[in-house]
Symmetry: C2
Subunit: 217 residues, 2 copies
């Protein structure tokens, strides 16, 4: 019975890793579509999000089956319930990548982001891809330094997000109102993606150590 | 044993109703602070959100205890797992009301919303308060007509949210860029609050009928 349970727990773990990789890829492709006003790629990102949603539902059903058939307690139970929370965050990260791709489509043939913010958004996307990639590694290796690294990366995103608002409030900002709206939304989506990454990282840290805040070696 | 379980299930149900009422109140007060540039009230809304977070954690711990001690299966198990999902949505609704109150503080002494959009935001707030109030009724009575009503109310919010973007894109829009950003964020927060309300309503409908889409009488 225990052997079956451990195998099921491992399957759920692998699916969380798989979801992390899918959302890292979604962010990478969403940003490419966004930076290059590539609606074809944007459409692919939008379509691919259905796979993330499907995998989340599958994972949740498996977790419920494990709860019903194995009746886990203590740390095993917390691991399963934690998986439900983590899958929800990862699904949401997929949605946010999709929203970025949707902005690309709405704005075509123009680019969403004015030249003055290209580097800022490139950095936010890069940090988010790193976060999602490290999440996969954290889930695989339980190396809690990765959790601390994810939190640090997210702080950099928060600073970039604040810098976008500062740029918008500056006298030198001459973009039209719809561009201001799109930039605001895109920055918010980037920021939320990182936040969800941190939620998952903290959850893993909590499940392993009982503490929410990772300690750095 | 069954009696204990039913009592615990009822407690969890009551806590979900309580959370719905708290987030309805949070939206009402957040909107009042926002419409009147009342930073004192905004501060109260921000402080009160800690209570929502606390109650969500408490509810989740109780749900985990029930899973561990009672080992529920079938529909009971789904109800408990569904409660974890619903509490997460309600907690997020509290966050969004807090975000609206935070905009009030950031913008003080000015109002966040220009006069031309006062009515639109008043309607969005009113629809969201109705959604959160009806969620409490739905959780209490299991009257699935309420779920259908919540979905209809949310469609009206989506239309108002789209109308905000239309106003921003119109030639008559003369607000400065930071106002455009605040209006964009506030509208997004309103829209997401309603979406989370719909998630909870669909979850209740699913738990009662096995179908996600409520049928209207």
């Amino acid at each position: 019975m225990r052997k079956v349970f451990l195998a099921e727990l491992q399957t759920i773990g692998e699916e969380l890793i798989n979801l992390s990789q899918l959302v890292a890829e979604a962010m990478e492709r969403a940003y490419d579509s966004f930076a290059n006003a590539d609606t074809q790629l944007a459409q692919e990102v939008i379509a691919a999000d259905a796979r993330v949603d499907f995998l989340q539902n599958k994972l949740d059903e498996q977790a419920i089956d494990v709860l019903a058939l194995q009746g886990p307690v203590a740390s095993d139970l917390r691991m399963i319930v934690g998986s439900l929370r983590m899958s929800a965050s990862l699904e949401r990260m997929g949605d946010l990548a999709r929203h970025i791709a949707q902005l690309t489509r709405l704005r075509f043939p123009d680019k969403v982001i004015p030249d003055s913010l290209t580097e800022t958004f490139a950095s936010m996307a890069d940090l988010n891809i790193q976060i999602a990639t490290k999440l996969g590694e954290l889930l695989e290796t339980r190396d809690l330094n990765k959790a601390a690294e994810i939190i640090t990366l997210n702080k950099q995103i928060d600073e970039l997000h604040a810098s976008v608002f500062k740029a918008i409030a500056d006298d030198s900002w001459t973009e039209d109102a719809p561009t201001t709206t799109d930039v605001t939304l895109a920055s918010r989506y980037m920021e939320r993606f990182g936040d969800h990454g941190v939620s998952v990282a903290r959850k893993v840290n909590y499940l392993v150590t009982g503490e929410w805040e990772p300690q750095v070696d």
